[in-house]
Symmetry: C2
Subunit: 206 residues, 2 copies
């Protein structure tokens, strides 16, 4: 890649960490711009007009083009690399886990962490507080599904590290911050160690 890559991010966000992880594995340079989402810095008129009309981070910028949605940005960076399976079924199977992450995992595992460890339980709205038991149950269901799959697989797809692992790693590794415990999921815990031991891996604060 010859274009300069800029990551618009809130660095404690697991969705932003995913993109830094992909870049680290590929040896790609990212310039980082920080926004404090707790202060509404991604909802300003300038951000909405220039970076992402959806008011969310991360956004990957390539020159004057922008890619919102963490998993789409990961796909852009990794397109053509070993992090995306070369076969048709493998590509779809990887995307299956990436859509699972955004639909069944992130809205539960990541939202619980955000609500409890960042916003604070006392600051939640009544509608949010009513959702805590459901999100906890759905978060554990997502972790259980992962654990069952990992019982017979070292990585999610194709026996090697792909974007499926990178998409699922950050919030799974921080699930305890949202009150979800990994004690009952030994295969998930082994997989977290396996992902973290890959060459090129970086920590969230790295």
């Amino acid at each position: 890649m010859t274009e300069k890559l800029v990551l618009h991010e809130y660095s404690p966000s697991g969705n932003c960490y995913k993109i830094r992880l992909v870049a680290a594995h590929l040896g790609a340079e990212l310039e980082r711009r920080e926004y404090d989402i707790l202060k509404g810095e991604t909802r300003t008129p300038v951000f909405l007009a220039r970076v992402n009309a959806n008011g969310r981070i991360p956004v990957l910028q390539l020159g004057d083009r922008f890619i919102p949605e963490s998993n789409a940005a990961c796909f852009y960076l990794a397109d053509g690399s070993d992090l995306i399976p070369a076969d048709r079924f493998g590509r779809a199977d990887m995307l299956r886990w990436m859509f699972f992450e955004q639909y069944s995992h992130e809205p539960n595992v990541a939202t619980l962490r955000y609500w409890l460890a960042y916003v604070g339980e006392a600051q939640l709205t009544d509608a949010q507080r009513m959702q805590l038991p459901g999100k906890s149950e759905a978060g554990y269901a997502a972790l259980k599904l992962m654990d069952e799959h990992l019982e017979t697989h070292d990585f999610f797809v194709g026996g090697r590290l792909t974007l499926a692992d990178i998409a699922l790693y950050p919030y799974t590794n921080m699930a305890e911050e949202g009150g979800l415990h990994l004690a009952a999921f030994p295969n998930v815990r082994s997989w977290l160690e396996r992902v973290a031991s890959q060459p090129g891996h970086i920590k969230i604060a790295g």
Copy 2:
């Protein structure tokens, strides 16, 4: 494709309709198996063990392999066709809208339709009922974002029909069933007509 393709589905689901739309555009044959999600037919032990441990439809079956997640199944079918942009940025941009659909659109626009038109408001749990105003607001925000993008674009990506349009079409076209009105979104309404007038398009009951 020489393998037989089987779609495990609940035919009124927009997520299942997406896959039938892609197959129709590609001229691919799908054998269809129906499950009534209101009767829990995707949560039976056999379904969980054999089709999808996540207990959800749609699932696309290819021989003895299964692809859950509607947008991953669409990607499998369309891989190598004109429905996926041939350039790297276009592919990521298409995925951006597909992840937007599953994260910011479907959980609001589709869930409102499911809760109000299928489950019935009187049958909702308190936690669900408390979410109605938030989901309505977020659903309208998703439609507004689409409308602004479509003000200067005939299709979501690359000036032609791609999986981004197919992913966003079903639930947008049925938004009124969830109480969301399209009157304020003229560009969305024109785009719905444009998508429906493409060669190969089929209706949800088609």
